[in-house]
Subunit: 165 residues, 2 copies
């Protein structure tokens, strides 16, 4: 199914009942027994592994959580470019996105309570290839940045409730 078909099919379904736009995602994370920082993740039928590099006490079997967050942002940018290029009829031959983020570890370790534990700054560099003019891709970028779910997550507060069970 082409992305244009997905967009039109979703529009039809959502016009019929707006509740069809409500989707939920669920992820199960568990510390691998006997390890300090290895996390096994289940997402539907998929499994992922998260770990820390040796400098952060792990065995470096995969990327760490903050790198996963940057991968979420970069891949969401790529896919949102694909969807919005299809929606707007913009020809697009390739999309590459590099994401860089800075953290001051004073926050995570509690060495300074005035330092936030998360990213202090994030930079997203997008490389598009295709036959359209520069201003067409600048317009596409504006639409993507307004509609990219994970960019919204980074830039704006999201309500999160945590509970011990």
């Amino acid at each position: 199914m082409s992305l244009t078909d997905v967009i039109e099919g979703t529009k039809t379904a959502v016009d019929a009942d707006p509740r069809n736009a409500a989707v939920s995602f669920s992820v199960a994370n568990a510390l691998k027994p006997g390890t300090a920082t290895r996390v096994d993740v289940r997402v539907r039928d998929h499994t992922l592994t998260v770990d820390e590099p040796a400098a952060l006490g792990g065995t470096d079997t995969s990327a760490n959580p903050v790198e996963y967050a940057l991968a979420a942002l970069g891949s969401c940018q790529v896919i949102t470019y694909q969807f919005w290029a299809a929606k707007l009829g913009v020809p697009l031959d390739g999309v590459k996105v590099t994401v860089d983020g800075d953290i001051d570890l004073h926050g995570f370790f509690g060495f300074s309570e005035s330092t936030r534990p998360g990213f202090g700054d994030v930079r997203v560099s997008v490389e598009l290839s295709g036959p359209a003019g520069a201003e067409v891709y600048e317009d596409l970028k504006r639409q993507v940045d307004e509609h990219c779910p994970v960019l919204d997550l980074f830039r704006n507060p999201t309500p999160v409730k945590t509970s011990l069970t």
Copy 2:
């Protein structure tokens, strides 16, 4: 190296020069040629795959970007529990974290400009096992929630600059 050693070693390094606490992470994302939504991700020596399920135009080879974001949050909670249990001397035998998030697709598809594209609500359910009393784990949870980098990313705005190159 135990997590306690990592915490003490980092403290010594950061006390010697606060700039030692500044760390940067980088992730490269590229659309796999010939696909609609498959993204190949490189993080240091690691590779990850991101895709969409068929209902969102993909081939479902892995989790999608918003599921990656939830995995980042869940795994970051697990590892922050491990570090802060070590720091506070709290015995902890196991950590499991389930993360659920809701999205209204009106936002991503641009069907409604008043709907945010990202998560409207996220719920984190933590299951700890260990011999300490309930109030000890409640205190641990408060410290974890104050110092978890990806929880901070979800709850608070992060400055992100995007650029076309």
